[in-house]
Amino acid sequence: MDLNLDAPHSMGTTIVGVSYNGGVVLGADSRTSTGVYVANRASDKITQLTDNVYVCRSGSAADSQIVSDYVRYFLHQHTIQLGQPATVKVAANLIRLLSYSNKNMLETGLIVGGWDKYEGGKIYSVPLGGTILEQPFAIGGSGSAYLYGFFDQAWKEGMTKDEAEKLVVKAVSLAIARDGASGGVVRTVIINSEGVTRNFYPGDTHPLWHEELEPTTSLLDILSAPEPMNT
């Protein structure tokens, strides 16, 4: 088996960001892999940049962490100099600046989401290469390949906070079901004028998808309720 434990830590990942009327909901899986080994099955890929802006990280774990750290540092200084909270647009453009200037060396796709008093809830996509695109919703990471069709059908304008969060959890859960590089729990972060809420949805809270079975503690529990014999 080719278990290369020295392979770079990469976040296969599924990341999602959805804006609703009043804020944004960010979502991600929790699997970090080195080659085929799952190095961390409970990672937190939704990272804080400021009180009101978070970023979903995908691709190389190292690259996304270092970019987040730099941008957090710059935003901290910016907030002090500005005298008020940074806007989501500024945070996203700082992410873009680093991603674009270092495009030859970095391998990370990021989704920036947050709330500010000028524009409300906003989502910005910064894929490989450093393009910046403002979108009503965004998906990223290897698991997102399985979600284009889902969002084409399921996303609609003017969702409530609860509808948006349900959509995010369902999406990440579906991607986890099909993408080997995504797994673990679904984490969500909801950001609006009132503040930030973190939620945690372990596997047993998701619905069962195709060909998945209800988890049990042991076969013995199934056997203890005997099935009728076939004659």
Binding site: N104, G130, T131, I132
Partner: protein, 227 residues
């Protein structure tokens, strides 16, 4: 010798531009692909530059966004002279040509093919420049697939001083062929117009496609088993 060739990630496809009676028309779809995935479907690839120009771009979108920042700076610094003079399309095209060619010489190209059109003092201008610095002006230009599919149509059907309606119809003919035959094309596009009066980037819209050929319904009729 440090060689720094890059490759593109998020790319836009063809841009087509033509001169018509009152000025220039540009057309491009609003798609940006990520390899073979049609990833983003609402990307504006035609932007107004200053008072007298329109820029359409195909290729890497992050590089196009950076070019827009360079042009922003160029226009602002020109404006700050406050001398009543403003950069025309010919000047902007020349600036872009120098930027593209110099980056190419450093083996670090901006991975785009650009169409620059505009009108100043009644004079219409339409030019193109690409990532290796090749640049020229003409009555009709196109990038990418547009070179192969749109330009032959334009060579045949373009004429001097077309009306706005005829020019739009001609562009739409080109865009429809591109939609049928370019797999990176999407059915959501924008047309932009520039005249002496100013620029208008029309809202995105979709074209009707035709599939009603009897041979399409039954391609192997009369030759069952073939394909």
């Amino acid at each position: 010798m440090l060689v720094l060739i890059r490759y593109p990630y998020v790319t836009g496809t063809s841009v087509v531009g033509i001169k018509y009676k009152d000025g220039i028309l540009l057309a491009a779809d609003t798609g940006a692909s990520y390899g073979s995935t049609l990833r983003y479907k609402s990307v504006e690839r035609i932007k107004a530059i200053g008072k007298h120009s329109l820029l359409g771009a195909s290729g890497e979108i992050s590089d196009f966004q950076e070019i827009l920042r360079y042009l922003d700076e160029l226009i602002i610094y020109d404006d700050m002279w406050d001398d009543g003079n403003s950069l025309g399309p010919k000047e902007v095209h020349n600036y872009l040509t120098r930027v593209m060619y110099n980056r190419r010489n450093k083996f670090n190209p901006l991975w785009n093919s650009l169409v620059l059109g505009g009108v100043k003092n009644g004079e219409k201008y339409l030019g193109t420049v690409n990532m290796i610095g090749v640049h020229y002006e003409d009555n009709h230009v196109a990038t990418g697939f547009g070179n192969h599919l749109a330009r032959p149509i334009l060579r045949d059907e373009w004429k001097e001083d077309m009306s706005f309606e005829d020019a739009v119809k001609l562009l739409e003919k080109c865009m429809l062929v591109l939609l049928y035959r370019d797999r990176s094309a999407i059915n959501k596009m924008q047309i932009a117009k520039i005249t002496e009066e100013g620029t208008t980037v029309y809202p995105p819209y979709s074209l009707k496609t035709f599939w009603g050929f009897s041979a399409f319904a039954n391609p192997t009729k009369g030759a069952e088993g073939s394909w």
